[in-house]
Subunit: 261 residues, 2 copies
């Protein structure tokens, strides 16, 4: 892992770009005021294209930094500055064609779109995790947030350092992922955009039902694919505070655990 | 409306029992430290039996008082100290028999159980609202929280003083309520216990889908009928803060509205 740039954001967050082999990534760590190193880490999933996703990623990272968490994102295979990936592009084109035709998207397309991505991204993410946890300022525990839900499911099953996951039920779900979901046992916070036209709501509900986790909660909101309301994002943040902040909170926002009910 | 008792709880909340005609009720108002009168009001729905429900009601009321809200609950017809209601008892017995038999509960039983209750409780609640809003210390706006969901739906449709509702999707839903839900337009926060054996999950999802509200969110959690996790209750509290607290929050917990996302 090699840091290639470093800058301090206005709220004190340290933003560093890095490369891990051929994979670009960004690490955000909290400013001195909000951190007591080593800090927990949230891996930020996304749809690919770090530069395009940057505004949303940095907003999530700043929010997490305010809670004392580091955040990191790595580029997806075939996206951004990484080499093109012909098979993935073909699968995306086939998906777009199926959606434009207004019909249901066949399982074969979903499998071809998602499963090779999962098989590539998960080992890359785990390698990034090795490198990130080797930094003295990052100590874990680790959370996974957002991105392609099938990636989150696989990571939750195979990566024991990830203790909690906030997932976005907005992407296509291969049948294999539905089966894999039964093996997930970590706490889950699942966001679902109820009226997302590109989202198969019943598939999302089936996936939520399948998760083996004893603590799982589903948060469905209106507003379309990119219209997650701010309070829903804040609720996801509180989920990570509950599960990743190790010492009992003695200041800040303990409201999530002090209810008498 | 006649107050029959008054006591100050340890957190400064003033608890007053009252009668409205034949109907007993309880009003909780925030202590001087957390209130700037007149305060908003949350009507607390419940399943009937004020004395039996008291521990949960007072916990909800204390929580709301800490946000600067008054809360009130009135006894349900046929429950607690109110006269028995033979038809309702018969419907409850029929429901219990259907549940014990393990079969689906027929629409006829659900209608007989719920619809007469809605027709009685809603005018009583509106009369209580008239009396409560006439008190100088209560100014509105008004929220409705919990209880039998069909009552919440009817109130949301017919009572314009109710600006937001937090509903518990744990009770039986008559077909007429599903139709009525399309007329609801106020913001809704709906709790669903995903693995509640006495709850028809699909009926709850259909009801959530039917609501006409532009802002509606569904929060599904594990833990059975009475196992709503504390963080879910807190999220419901933040929903009311967003919708009932009139002046922009300058202190306290503004986290639900200040996200940059």
């Amino acid at each position: 892992m090699r840091f290639t740039s470093e800058r301090r954001l206005d709220d004190g967050v340290l933003e560093r770009e890095f490369t891990l082999g051929e994979i670009p990534g960004i690490l955000w760590t909290p400013g001195p005021a909000s951190a007591s190193a080593p800090v927990p880490l949230i891996l930020l999933g996304h749809q690919g294209g770090l530069k395009r996703m940057y505004p949303r990623l940095v907003a999530r990272a700043r929010h997490s930094a305010a809670e004392g968490f580091a955040s990191a994102a790595i580029e997806m295979p075939g996206s951004g500055d990484r080499p093109r990936w012909a098979d993935a592009e073909q699968a995306r084109a086939d998906l777009r064609r199926a959606l434009d035709a207004g019909g249901p998207v066949g399982e074969e397309i979903i499998d071809r779109l998602i499963l090779p991505l999962v098989d590539k991204v998960v080992p890359e993410t785990r390698a990034a995790l090795d490198a990130l946890l080797a930094l003295p300022e990052i100590g874990g525990p680790v959370g996974y947030s957002g991105g392609v839900i099938a990636i989150g499911v696989r990571l939750a099953v195979v990566e024991p350092r990830i203790l909690a996951a906030g997932l976005f039920a907005g992407s296509f779900v291969p049948r294999a992922t539905l089966e894999e979901a039964r093996k997930v046992t970590i706490p889950l916070h699942v966001l679902l955009q109820w009226d997302d036209e590109e989202n198969d709501r019943q598939a999302a509900l089936n996936l939520f039902d399948a998760f083996g986790s004893k603590e799982k909660s589903l948060h469905a909101n209106m507003g379309g694919h990119t219209g997650v309301p701010p309070w829903a994002g804040d609720a996801a943040g509180r989920f990570f505070v509950r599960h990743l902040r190790r010492p009992p909170a003695t200041s800040g926002q303990p409201a999530d655990t002090d209810s008498g009910r």
